[in-house]
């Protein structure tokens, strides 16, 4: 076999190796995005479970704040039946707003704020809110990696061939902390 033959074999071998690498990378990002979405789902469900308990506890001290209770309960049931990433995000924003109002109401009742049950629920809620934020952060990071790999050449060819489709970002407002502008790209 001549030099040309070897060159052809080398090129084909490299192409095969690259295809395997690029395909596995796409699968990895897709699985991680799925994992991230599952984690968001777990934490959102945890929050749904906390809401009735929280409402019941606050009701015991502030029965006349009926409007706030109804609002958060309605937002919760809308969120539970929401469809799609964007729809879910929109519905969760309403839940976050309702919960913030509920906690603001609680601020006016010193007895309630000293209640051990309420304090435990508040810690669980704060913890769950920040887990939702972290799960969203992880999911969005993985979606960014997946979408970049799907859209950039040459892996876009492979993505088309095997029907990898870009995912939607999960955008909800950050209720836990004020957003901070930090540039991490330089690292």
């Amino acid at each position: 076999m001549g030099v040309a033959g070897w060159v052809v074999i080398a090129v084909v071998a490299l192409l095969v190796l690259w295809t395997i690498w690029a395909f596995n990378r796409l699968v990895k990002y897709r699985n991680r995005a799925d994992e991230g979405w599952a984690q968001i789902d777990v934490q959102l469900r945890r929050r749904y479970d906390l809401i009735p308990n929280l409402v019941k506890t606050v009701e015991g001290y502030a029965a006349h704040e009926r409007e706030t209770f109804e609002e958060v309960t309605a937002a919760r049931s809308r969120a539970e039946s929401a469809q799609g990433v964007a729809g879910q995000a929109h519905a969760e924003n309403a839940v976050s707003t309702g919960l913030r109002q509920l906690l603001a109401v609680a601020e006016n009742y010193p007895d309630l704020k000293a209640n051990a049950n309420f304090l435990a629920l508040q810690e669980e809620l704060t913890g769950t809110e920040s887990k939702i934020a972290y799960a969203r952060q992880y999911y969005n990071d993985q979606v960014r990696l997946l979408n970049t790999a799907i859209q950039s050449f040459p892996s876009s060819v492979l993505a088309n061939m095997f029907h990898f489709s870009p995912r939607e970002f999960f955008d909800i407002e950050d209720a836990v902390r004020a957003p901070v502008q930090v540039d991490f790209e330089g690292q």
Partner: protein, 304 residues
Amino acid sequence: MHEQIAANKRKTVLLIILAVVFTGLIGWLIGFLFFKGGTIGLVFAVGLALALSLGSYFFGDKIVLTSTGARKVTREQEPRLHNVVEGLAIAAGVPKPEVYVVPEAAPNAFATGRDPDHSSIAVTQGLLQMMDRVELEGVIGHEMSHVLDRDILIGTVVATVVGAAILLSEIFTRTWFWGGGGRRSNNSGGGDAGILSLVLFAVGIFLLILAPLAGQLIKLSVSRNREYLADAQGVLLTRYPPGLISALEKISGAPHAMRAANNATAHLWLEQPSRVPGDDTSTLERLFSTHPPIQDRIKRLQEM
């Protein structure tokens, strides 16, 4: 980051090989001197080397946790700590580490384990009392980065190997001092006991030389850059540099003295612990510092 993980794996393998060779030598020495060498010497060498290397890999985290007095806490006992650890595990995309509390007043924390699937994070009681939620998230973010980068494996192996070297050197020198050397002056019929005490003394001296070498190994393997990197990566997880900055400021203003501090585990902590004044201090301790100055770490975070 991936280069860091690969470098950590290489260093860990190298370290375990070194440790196996050293303990093998010591085992062979014991076998040779006490049992006139041969098969028993070989059995001793292989046995000791295997015990140390496998032990530090599989039980290193438990040994480190026990030696610092860390106690496992349940979600009911420490809900806030559990929630923060779980949140940052989600952010990092790793399973939730086990959660421990060390009964010490100085604010500090460390992570140990062999990989993200087998990891533990321990914080002191003082840290829990002193830090608010965002500061705690900053600290746990730093520790979670050590878990992600496999810093925990090399750190734990170093701690176990150095701990074993220090322990052996103390056993040998004390045995010689109290059991052999001390009695020999009263007992003129030295004989075998005299040779034995001399041998123990020699081995003890050998290990005393080894211990500072092990200290140098810590310096090499646990560079200051690693702490800067974990700070930066931790902030990448929390997306909130002021949390860790504020935590480090509180730590720098608080007393560092800890009962659980020792040479073997100093490098694992968030900030280098110092000894409680009046406690048994070691000259070796002053030979190396494992952490960069806390003010430098704060400055770097502020520049991000």
